[in-house]
């Protein structure tokens, strides 16, 4: 059905376009007047009146067809009295029989009947689908063609349709975001109906081990998210200790000291760092950095665990260097040249100019860059899953195992668990808190950056 409906719609598009164009040409020829819009716009107008109804029919069929057929089947099904039915299973059985996936041997007569009915309904539906899509395309085109005349401003109308199309597309992204937020909120509510908000936010014990199956003996789980957030912040701080100075100094070098040539080469190279998949950083952290951290810890007499906050943080720091350097570089570059000249003109040298004039002027933007990098670091998953561990330790020692919010979400969602136990649901609560944190960081960062921009533009 998919292939042929595409072909049908393409034919409709083509012929309605030709139809519209020939119509307006004929009108121009017979009246000898200049049309208000060009031929193409009239043709596009007819085309959109052909395409849009066809798409509506197509999608409503795709959405409702199966539903309606199922209802019809279930309504006319010859139920055997006294037998218990699971509608889902029953429908699956009927469909299998109809599609010859399952041999009909040994199936009861009423199922075979229903399967035959299903088949015929499906056929009717397909035929009526093709007929209605053709009719609707023809009707749409005819309606549009009737509206075409010399005076008709097709260009404006098309412009309007394009605007609607753009609005539609952008609203998809917005609506999806809203949907995700709501699903997060609802699932979190379910979690908080089983675990108190107070415990979640302030308790320092995170043992999400609860009986997975009914009747299984297990300790009561406890869901204090403090160690998880502490772990997240520990990893983030280690990462920022690496990324902030290196990124900022790189930015200063690139924007103030490097020649155009160097800048043009180094900047894209740095941005490649941002393109490396984070899982690659993850195994780099696990295979190379973590053992190094462990042996380094031993050499200075600290017992380091094989996966540690330090290993994950160091690699994450490297990952976010390009964020900081690239954004700060842009910010420093947008400090007006006149300030540099003003400072140098007084006889300040380059370092003084950077330290006392450029950096203070660029500070809000740099802070914005840092905040964006932090929210990136907090939301990062793969590196910490691989290199930081999963034990929820409340510790400030970066050589120890810690766990982060994202890791715990992964842990909570893998494996087969029922979807209504608090362990699984805790993923949503953690996700919600994480979302709130990164969102507010982003908003703060954007506001700072924007305020800064206004000052100079």
């Amino acid at each position: 059905m998919f292939f042929w409906s595409i072909v049908l719609i393409l034919i409709g598009i083509y012929s309605s376009y030709i139809f519209g164009k020939s119509r307006i040409k004929k009108l121009v020829y017979s009246t000898n007047l200049k049309p208000k819009s060009q031929y193409n716009y009239h043709a596009q107008y007819v085309l959109s009146w052909c395409l849009l109804p066809a798409l509506i029919v197509y999608f409503s069929w795709a959405i409702f067809e199966e539903q309606i057929i199922q209802n019809l089947i279930l309504n006319s099904f010859e139920y055997v009295e006294g037998a218990a039915y699971d509608y889902g299973l029953l429908l699956a059985e009927i469909r299998n029989v109809a599609n010859n996936i399952d041999f009909s041997d040994g199936k009861s007569q009423e199922i075979i009947n229903a399967a035959a009915q299903y088949k015929s309904l499906k056929l009717t539906s397909q035929i009526s689908f093709y007929i209605s899509i053709i009719i609707i395309m023809v009707l749409g085109s005819l309606y549009a063609v009737r509206k075409i005349n010399i005076q008709f401003n097709a260009q404006d109308t098309i412009e309007k349709y394009i605007k609607y199309l753009l609005i539609f597309c952008s609203s998809i992204a917005v609506l999806t975001t809203i949907g995700i937020i709501f699903s997060l909120i609802f699932e979190s509510f379910r979690f908080f109906s089983q675990v108190s908000l107070f415990e979640f936010l302030f308790s320092t014990e995170w043992y999400p081990f609860i009986p997975i199956r009914e009747g299984q003996a297990a300790a009561e789980g406890s869901f204090g998210a403090v160690p998880i957030f502490a772990g997240t912040f520990l990893v983030m701080i280690v990462a920022m200790c690496v990324a902030a100075p290196i990124g900022l100094f790189t930015a200063i070098y690139l924007s103030e000291y490097a020649s155009q040539k160097v800048r043009k080469t180094v900047k894209p190279l740095l941005e490649i760092l941002a393109g490396i998949p984070t899982i690659v950083y993850g195994f780099f952290a696990f295979v190379t950095v973590a053992p190094f951290v462990k042996s380094f810890g031993q050499s200075i007499g600290i017992d380091a665990s094989p996966t540690s906050a330090l290993a994950a943080g160091l690699v994450m720091g490297v990952m976010i260097i390009p964020f900081i350097s690239s954004l700060s570089d842009d910010v420093i570059n947008s400090v007006p040249q006149s300030l540099r000249e003003g400072s140098l003109g007084i006889g300040a040298n380059k370092a003084e100019t950077i330290k006392k004039v450029i950096l203070p002027a660029a500070l809000p933007g740099i802070v914005g860059a840092f905040l964006l990098a932090i929210s990136r670091a907090i939301g990062e998953t793969m590196i910490v899953v691989v290199a930081a561990g999963t034990a929820a330790n409340l510790t400030a020692n970066p050589f120890e195992n810690v766990t982060t919010v994202t890791v715990q979400i992964v842990v909570a969602l893998i494996g087969d668990q029922e979807f209504d136990n608090p362990r699984t649901l805790s993923a949503f609560a953690l996700g919600l808190v994480l979302f709130v944190i990164t969102l507010s960081l982003n908003v703060l960062a954007l506001r700072i950056v924007k305020k800064y921009r206004e000052r100079y533009e």
Binding site: S338, S343, G345, I346, G347, A348, P360, A361
Partner: protein, 256 residues
């Protein structure tokens, strides 16, 4: 008018290239001490480029190459061994658009003295700031709000703040690159009056697009055209009886 014959700046055969393009061609001129010299000419004639040679500001432009000789107090400055920092502390500069730093009014003026270590104590620094603001004719307007950001001032005040910032490091020469082009007529009149006062203590070179301004504030005028110095001399003479027909055409508004 105080006449004097001490040459402060002496340029000889100055050529400037931006990559391949020649912006200045064999410029030679002498600039006298404690006088206002105006550089005039149509846009793109090289007058700002010449101005920026004097404090080596063209160093900031990677593709810019300066040859020839400019002597300030008989010392060659177009040379790789020139101490650019001390040169620039001797030569203040005021730019086309007021460019106060995003700091307080006080810190804007205190910036130069503190990086050059001109003040030993806090009260010394305060003295320098206040004197400079007074010399720039701004002190009375801002004395109650020295801690407010310099960017909060009006355009004309900002420009005078920049002048105060420049004279706070005790320069001998002040370069002004169209200092009034972003200002309204009233602010312009105040700045012009200020330039007239500053002339007593500083050698001033001003680039301007306004011929009236050149006539009002300067004693000497140099007319640039297409990278060449066409004519230079007493302002009175240039504006009343120029030798060169191009100068004549320009000042009478026939081109440019």
């Amino acid at each position: 008018m105080v006449e004097n014959n001490n040459t402060k700046i002496s340029a000889k055969d100055v050529d400037v290239f931006y990559s391949e393009k020649q912006a200045l061609n064999k410029i030679s001129m002498d600039i006298k001490e404690k006088e206002v010299t105006a550089l005039i000419g149509p846009s793109g004639c090289g007058k700002s480029t010449f101005l920026r040679c004097i404090n080596r500001m063209n160093d900031l432009i990677e593709i810019c190459k300066v040859t020839g000789s400019i002597k300030v107090d008989n010392e060659e400055i177009i040379s790789s061994s020139t101490d650019v920092v001390s040169l620039r502390s001797k030569i203040g500069m005021v730019f086309q658009k007021p460019n106060p730093f995003p700091k307080s009014i006080f810190d804007n003026v205190a910036y130069g003295p503190s990086i050059h270590g001109l003040a030993d104590t806090k009260s010394d620094l305060e003295n320098i700031v206040i004197t400079s603001l007074k010399k720039a004719g701004l002190y009375n307007e801002v004395k109650d709000r020295l801690n407010e950001p310099g960017t909060s001032l009006s355009g004309g005040q900002q420009q005078r703040l920049c002048i105060a910032r420049a004279i706070a490091v005790n320069p001998e020469i002040i370069l002004m690159d169209e200092p009034c082009s972003a200002l309204d007529p009233i602010a312009t009149a105040i700045i012009e009056e200020l330039i007239d006062e500053l002339r007593l203590n500083y050698t001033i070179i001003i680039v301007t697009h306004s011929m009236q301004q050149a006539a009002r504030v300067s004693q000497k005028t140099c007319f640039f055209h297409l990278g060449e110095l066409i004519e230079s001399g007493e302002t009175n003479k240039i504006f009343t009886n120029p030798d060169n027909t191009k100068t004549q055409d320009y000042i009478t508004g026939r081109f440019g």
